[in-house]
Symmetry: C2
Subunit: 406 residues, 2 copies
């Protein structure tokens, strides 16, 4: 059994790091508040006598090994401690701190694993400051070079390389230095499924595809009062049409496709000036790769038709594109068995969110454990999971980790 009070106390302590003047939790990747969160985690690793290694893209690894097992590929448990803007305290942190908790519990119990057990906090999983999301785990899995990642430019104009150096987390290890035997990730569901079915544990068998695009529409600034509607090239009007097209369409469909426009900006952004430019992001997801491609194609066709009809020019930049991932069935079955052994209801499910496990599945057998999110709410300060559910999830992680590391 994990130490419930230690785990819950740490979740709360880390959740207090990164509050702005209005009490909002904002711990964007490689920011000052991210540094504070990282320092706290690294401090706990050191206290627990766990070796700390940091790679060039800022991923932090706590590695518990012994002279007997040091040569073996480790079992890796991971997640992230960066957050979105005005976040909840569980998204990511729960998985990292539960990983640490599992190592401490195994260590204290006298268990002698046949391979090292490591816990990772990956850089910029959220993708809010730098894109793509799951950036650190993608680099670890070899999906992108360290140099590309380090050159990423943030929404605030910052460059990741400089920010990591500034906060003291530009490490010396090469991304991917640690080749896992298997990868486990425990996370809050962030959606409504487990709560809706009254189940405490999800055994995540797959994860949907993600397409992130940035659309820039250029029109012509002109006077809001003097310019007849027929003579306008209104970039903002065109943007609103794209958003309405995409979101109305997705909402009306029976498919599980989801579409979100989370960010927008007009130029010059003045009340009586027709926008010369509109820039917005599109987050499009589907568990089925064919359908995701079809939706991307529908959008592209609409943009082309709109540009011609509305005297605007439209350019699109792909910020992230990940195909759906199927997790390792044997690990999924172990999660189900562990839940049943503890008398906990469990179901196989799909992850709607992206996770570091999605990247790690490229290089190791991987799977995820979910616990319920009250009201299906996440990326919101009202994000909540009951203490008992958090502890139950961490104990399932402990059980499966002990089997995989035995």
């Amino acid at each position: 059994e994990i130490d419930a009070q230690r785990l819950l106390g740490r979740i709360r302590e880390l959740g207090a790091v990164g509050r702005d003047g209005e009490g909002r939790l904002i711990r964007l990747a490689a920011s000052d508040t991210d540094r504070q969160g990282r320092d706290l985690f690294v401090g706990w690793l050191r206290q627990a006598g766990i070796d700390v290694a940091i790679d060039r893209v800022g991923n932090i690894f706590g590695i518990w090994q012994s002279p007997e097992n040091a040569g073996q590929a480790p079992l890796l448990i991971g997640s992230h401690i960066d957050t979105v803007i005005d976040a909840g305290i569980y998204d990511g942190c729960y998985g990292v701190l539960a990983g640490l908790e599992v190592i401490e519990t195994l260590k204290a119990s006298g268990f002698l694993p046949s391979r090292p057990v490591a816990v990772a906090a990956f850089t910029n999983e959220e993708g809010v400051r730098y894109t793509p999301d799951m950036m650190g785990s993608l680099a670890h899995a070899g999906g992108v070079s360290a140099e590309t990642v380090l050159a990423a430019v943030g929404t605030d104009g910052s460059v990741l390389r400089q920010e990591l150096a500034r906060i003291g987390y530009a490490g010396d290890r090469e991304p991917g230095f640690l080749r896992p035997h298997a990868y486990l990730e425990l996370h809050i569901e962030q959606g409504p499924v487990l709560e809706g079915e009254g189940l405490p544990i999800g055994a995540v068998e797959n994860l949907q595809g993600i397409s992130w695009q940035r659309v820039t529409i250029d029109g012509v600034a002109n006077h809001a009062g003097t310019t007849p509607m027929s003579m306008r090239s209104d970039a903002g009007h065109a943007a609103a049409r794209v958003i309405t097209f995409l979101l109305d369409r997705t909402k009306a469909s029976n498919a599980p496709t989801v579409a979100t426009v989370g960010t927008i900006r007009f130029e010059p952004n003045a009340i009586n000036v027709i926008p010369s430019r509109a820039v917005f992001t599109i987050d499009l997801r589907d568990p089925d790769e064919q359908r995701l491609q079809a939706e991307e194609a529908e959008l592209a066709a609409y943009l082309e038709q709109l540009a011609a009809a509305e005297k605007v020019t439209i350019s699109v930049e792909q910020l992230a594109r990940f195909e759906p991932v199927i997790f390792d069935l044997r690990i999924v079955e172990r999660i189900e068995a562990a839940a049943r052994a503890r008398g906990l209801g469990v179901k196989r499910m799909t992850s709607g969110a992206g996770h570091d496990a999605q990247m790690m599945a490229r290089i190791a057998p991987a799977a995820m454990i979910f616990v319920p999110s009250a009201g299906g709410i996440s990326h919101n300060p009202r994000e909540h999971t009951e203490d008992g559910e958090l502890v139950a999830g961490a104990n399932i992680l402990l059980d499966v980790a002990a089997q995989l590391a035995k």
Copy 2:
């Protein structure tokens, strides 16, 4: 005849004041760059031996009077020197500098007017930093108290009272201290009508009504990947629907109604977070008050229906509301006659833009002179009027001013 080179040189000199790092002209009301523009104008007034008076809301008056006419109500010529973001150099400045030019020309010619002739630069005509637009002239006309105006909060959170004090333009005169006999304003058209008809002069007989509103939509932030479309309260989606409704509708109509959404903001504005809040402005105009009211009512009904259908709450704040204005027919006729006397084509027309003349018409007979805008473009750095057209307009202003002040 006015001094063409002096006028054109000053327009260019003032147009160079307020360039940002990218060369964009941004001289927002009561900003540091507005101060530089004001200082230049006041310097020219002083050089010309014209008395300077500044009122509590920062309106600047240059008053040319003699012992003989000092007791009479003055002829006032005015406009503004604040600009929008990424502006052209003519909007407003042209009218102020032409007013100064007219006074200098009359003075040098030995003309002895029966009443003072004054030129005004009114504060915050554009309404981009503080709302409503035409703020200084509205206060001068008694349409709003000085205290209300001074408490205005800008898009940048600044308070006008502090900003005017900071830039040294919190004057001591009471707004409205100068009661004009008549008011004249020369301005670029900012629209396509004069160019389209190949005419150099517009005699502006009326000005359309303006309704400015700020709409705030509140939904619920949630995760872009995990939240089914049917379970969302997406403030951004609702905002896009409002924009599409209003602008599609106005565009499809045969009426001259114009509608613009120039500013927008999402919260938290993160790529994978459903917007919890969307804030945008609506600029709605029509020369006919009944039709403007009908359009406002259509919009209000749509917002009500949308709030109910989309699980969002919507609140609306009126930022400005001005009824259409009809200018003084006798002055309009004088403008037409002056143009014909100089062999210049002229037509009576409606102003699509708001102007200080619209406020001054509340307290004095008023009218406006327009000159063409190339391509009908304004509120854009490509705003342009030919030198010859600028000079012709200033000479019409001279002729009409000489008649009204005689």
